[in-house]
Amino acid sequence: MAGRTPFHSSWAAARAGLLGCGLALLGLGSGCGQEGGEGPPGAREPIRIGHFASLTGDTATFGQSTDRGIRMAIEEINARGGALGRPLELISEDDRSITEEARTAAQKLLQRDQVTALLGEVASSRSLAAAPEAQRAGIPMISPASTNPKVTEVGSYVFRTCFIDPFQGAVMARFAREELKAKRVAILFDFKQDYSVGLADFFRKTFTELGGEIVADERYTSGDIEFRAQLTTIRAASPDAVFVPGYYTEVGLIAKQARELGLTVPLLGGDGWDSAKTLEIGGSAVEGYYFSNHYAADSDSPKVQDFVKRYRDKHGEAPDAMAALGYDAAGILADALVRAGDVQGAKLRDAIAATRDYDGVTGKISIDENRNARKDAVVLKIEGGRFRFYRSVPAS
């Protein structure tokens, strides 16, 4: 256990440790190994928070942004004296954007680092791969940005601080139908990603309920670089708009190839588009397109502007939604630690579940009975090579 001070016990602390253990055994089962095996925690011993993230690979900006957001939150919390009188220590583990690796990364954090709580992932498939590990260990896990409903259904220890795809899909379906007056929409989704499959489903459902028609339903696989075949089929169906609920890597390529084929109707997407890379790859081909998101960096809320400024000073670029969600997830965790008064898994779990109206940069966050966050969504428009706030949609 590198970096940990071994046994420097005072009798009081040892008794507190034993008491905590006893309580856990009596009432809530797991969680004893953590503190008991290591000796009683010293007063200033850091509380370890694990973050598993895609720091490299296909969706590297997701993991990197989230990590920066979390780090910024933790630095600020520590500057204010930490939580429970102890500093927070962040341990990040890279899953290289690979689904199976997310589970391994979570295992490492749980077993080797004995973390108090887990933060991660952005991609729903990877959160789903890791969540059973957190559940089994009885350690709370908060996904900052996984929007597929299945993620928190894994168990009582799994939370999220973002809205879910039934809401996001409905927002974009309503936007297409009511704002863009689209009657015929084509869908192009990534059938290897739970996120993309789910979002396409919810969009399809709401859009047809609103009297629209899905005229083409095409799919691709993460990692594909050639989409001209599907786009030609979509073009033949002459849609009014195309819904592409994918991740940024593919979205930029899709937009480019669509323009080359003369497909000029608007492309619509979800929060998977939120990365500076969408603009870098897509260039002028993504101009005028819309996507739903968790927050807008150009919002005029003072809280957001303050966050954007501090982030920009540190990293030289505006925070994307993943950074903002990471920041809020860490903030909610610290808030729950204080309310729990303990690092023990079950107590912390209950405190996170009791979060109401947390004032985050991505809006007011309340955790509902299904451990999901209820919050507003925004629609952004790509204009002049930037993401611009277009409108906001209240939580239903």
Binding site: T56, R96, F191, E218, D224, A229, T232, R235, G262
Partner: protein, 302 residues
């Protein structure tokens, strides 16, 4: 009908990339009876070299056709050298010691893994976005069939490289030497053909073509990463077998055919079945023609 023609055009452009890679497989197989499994990774190095060259030489900021050609030449040159080094280090020592056909196959896999992992160390594991050396726009449109300038450049470059290769192999002294070694290496050596130099030259040619494929992919599908060579490498190998491995026109046709089949499956059925159906087509063709479309049955030399 219009859409079908558009799909054919998409397929031929995509297949041209496979064809360029397949040529390297087939030429090396022709002279050495060796499947050079590192070939897909040479294609990756080609794309990466192009990426860095375009940035270093300032073409990324100021796109032009000349910049594209210089980038293409730089990548082909670098990969030609890489091909020669791979041959010299990983295959020739085994060949000179009379190793069988299995040992070089294993070193080929070793070189492939080396390039993939070294690539992740040197270039980083994150995908990079190939600079737009050509601002993509619609070039011509006949009815509903759109041809972008990028697709046109890919097609023209592919065809020009194939024609050049055909010329080199059929009309030059070096080409004749390649054919001689391919026909019977021992006899060629006895006739004074410098077999080692011919083999190295074949690697240089094949690797340069793979580099060109890497640049063209960077141009039309601008996402590149250190593992990008794995799938196209396998597909191009399939294309070479489909056309009849060891046969140059066969590799070209095999590559184009595979590209068209993949595109039609993605366009008319579902991209979910793309690879499965492409491989079923391969099996079906090989059942009828075990030596591939253009292959001739070979009697085993004793």
């Amino acid at each position: 009908m219009e859409n079908f023609l558009q799909q054919l055009l998409n397929g031929v452009t995509w297949g041209g990339i496979y064809a360029l890679i397949a040529l390297g497989y087939t030429m090396v197989y022709g002279v050495l009876r060796l499947i050079n499994f590192a070939h897909g990774d040479v294609y990756m190095v080609g794309a990466m070299t192009g990426y860095y060259a375009a940035h270093a030489l300032g073409f990324a900021a100021q796109p032009s056709l000349a910049g594209l050609l210089v980038t293409l030449a730089a990548a082909m040159l670098a990969c030609g050298v890489l091909g020669a080094v791979i041959e010299r280090v990983a295959y020739r020592p085994l060949r000179l010691r009379g190793a069988g056909r299995l040992a070089p196959l294993i070193t080929a896999i070793g070189v492939s893994l080396l390039l993939e992992n070294a690539g992740q160390l040197v270039f980083g594991a994150d995908p990079k976005f190939f600079p737009a050396l050509l601002e993509s726009r619609e070039l011509v449109r006949v009815g509903g069939i759109a041809l972008s300038n990028v697709q046109a450049v890919v097609l023209v470059t592919t065809l020009a490289l194939m024609a050049t290769l055909e010329f080199v192999v059929m009309r030059t002294r070096f080409g004749r030497a390649i054919r001689a070694v391919s026909f019977d290496g021992q006899a060629a050596a006895l006739m004074g053909v410098p077999v080692d130099r011919v083999v190295m030259g074949t690697f240089v040619l094949g690797s340069a073509l793979a580099a060109a494929a890497g640049i063209l992919v960077g141009l039309s599908n601008p996402k590149i990463d250190p593992l990008m060579g794995i799938m196209p490498g396998i597909k191009a190998f399939v294309a070479a077998v489909l056309g009849g491995i060891g046969n140059i026109p066969g590799a070209m046709v095999g590559g184009l055919l595979l590209g068209v089949v993949e595109t039609l499956v993605s366009g008319y059925l579902s991209s979910t079945y793309r690879d499965a159906i492409a491989f079923v087509v391969l099996i079906a063709i090989l059942l009828y023609r075990p030596t591939g479309l253009f292959g001739t049955p070979q009697t085993e030399k004793v």
